[in-house]
């Protein structure tokens, strides 16, 4: 029943696993990138297949509809140009005021659009991969925003052509967040539930925190990864935990993490 061949197979698999586990972290991440790069042609193929219906739909649109769309876009563009002029004037005024009271000058956000190419196959992680990598200037810990500008996570590892992002709700993505209430309570946004990716926990709020349902939650800027003021979500409910030592709240995220197709990478 138990042949020599079986012993060899058992030993070989255990040895290979132990060898992989004992590799230094840098070698492991390189090996991981090398193995995952085997899938690159398939991702290219999947992207093309996804864009095919869009291209086909564009091709069969009538000239009249296209002209109408161009006119709408032209109008929207003019409105946006006007808004940009207004916001530039506001930014100049803000800079002057900040300089007058000796505050540091605020730097404008630099954003880069990326496509979400895959989701984590394991149910116990909340990560995804995007099609921008180190050749696009990405580094680890860059904040990731949804197309609407809400915080959704950060870059966790970078390859030449793609990067892995950890989404809010994953136990490894902790964010220092501030509640927009009169007391500006600060807590740590941690893990969510395995099933509902729209709710996450906000813990370590002070025991006297004045929290109400619907209050906005934004990044506090502490921790050095996420700039302050990025909207995250809204308070759902709160309760005292650890015998009243601190308060824990549930936050409903503004971004829909389950339907991410494009994201913004925020550069400092």
């Amino acid at each position: 029943m138990f042949k020599r061949k079986n012993y060899f197979a058992l030993g070989a698999v255990v040895l290979v696993t132990l060898a992989i586990f004992s590799l230094p972290p840098r070698a492991t991440s390189r090996l991981k990138l090398a193995v995952s790069s085997l899938f690159l042609p398939l991702f290219g193929l999947a992207n093309t297949a996804q864009q095919l219906p869009v291209t086909a739909a564009d091709a069969i649109l009538s000239r009249r509809e296209l002209l109408k769309e161009v006119e709408n876009l032209r109008r929207e563009n003019q409105q946006l140009k006007f808004l940009q002029l207004q916001s530039a004037a506001t930014a100049r005024e803000n800079d002057q005021l900040r300089a007058a009271i000796g505050w540091q000058k605020q730097m404008p956000w630099k954003l880069k659009l990326a496509n979400v190419v895959l989701r984590d196959p394991a149910n116990w992680w909340r990560t995804a991969q995007i099609d921008l990598g180190s050749r696009n200037g990405l580094t680890i810990n860059l904040p990731i925003l949804s197309p609407e500008g809400f915080l959704i996570g950060r870059v966790s590892s970078v390859d030449q052509f793609k990067s892995q992002i950890i989404l809010i709700g994953d136990p490894n993505c902790r964010v220092s967040a501030r509640v927009e209430n009169p007391t500006h309570d600060i807590g740590v946004l941690g893990a969510g539930g395995p099933l509902d990716d729209s709710l996450v926990g906000l813990s370590y709020l002070s025991s006297g925190a004045n929290l109400k349902s619907g209050q906005s939650v934004v990044t506090s800027g502490e921790g050095g990864i996420f700039p302050p003021g990025i909207p995250i979500g809204q308070i759902v409910d709160a309760q005292q935990v650890e015998f009243g030592l601190y308060t824990e709240a549930r936050v409903k995220l503004n971004a829909n993490l389950g339907a991410l197709e494009e994201v913004w990478v925020l550069f400092p």
Binding site: A9, W125, Q129
Partner: protein
């Protein structure tokens, strides 16, 4: 036949891992992604040899972990821990019966995530767990169970269509025929 089967199983594992990362329909519908590697491991354990089972465990595990946030190599041992005993004891399993395939698929799909989580926890990792994980585990078990007989049927069809078939020979041999004849010497 076995080499062709091994190649077929490895190709299916590669595509299955890729499919799990790209197609999120089960995640949206049932709240969990269904893993096809345990079902493939059952097929490999019942229809190939121990070398193929080992290769599938190592390659499938590495592919899965490379596209996931799992530490590399974590999925190898759970897959092998399911495939190896079944491969060794397969003479005692009625592998042609869809019920047996369904049962083994459910068993593998239930045990592989548990083993993986245990290895993750023992390595100091913090996977996302809660009461909802129980539902996800049930979905993975049911999905893997349902997928196993389908995979068996699909592989049988592929083997029949693409693989070399064994030449069936009759036991009748003309040179050994006994002629019952009056003139026979």
């Amino acid at each position: 036949m076995n080499v062709f089967n091994t190649i077929l199983v490895l190709a299916a594992a590669f595509l299955a891992v890729f499919g799990e990362t790209v197609f999120s329909a089960p995640r949206h519908l049932f709240g969990a992604q269904i893993d096809l590697l345990p079902a493939l491991m059952i097929y490999a354990a019942l229809n190939t040899n121990v070398v193929s089972v080992s290769i599938l465990a190592v390659a499938g595990g590495l592919w899965f972990d490379a596209l996931s946030a799992n530490p590399l190599g974590v999925t190898i041992l759970p897959l092998f821990a399911i495939g190896f005993p079944i491969c060794v004891q397969r003479e005692f399993i009625l592998r042609e019966l869809p019920f047996a395939q369904l049962f083994l698929g459910a068993l593998a799909s239930a045990l592989v995530p548990i083993f993986t989580i245990l290895i993750l926890l023992s390595g100091g990792n913090e996977p996302l767990l809660g009461w909802g994980s129980l539902w996800q585990w049930l979905v993975m078990t049911a999905g893997g169970a349902a997928a196993t007989p389908i995979l068996f049927a699909l592989f049988d069809w592929c083997n029949h269509a693409l693989g070399y078939q064994l030449r069936t020979e009759s036991s009748f041999r003309q040179d050994r025929e006994i002629h019952r004849d009056k003139n026979a010497k």
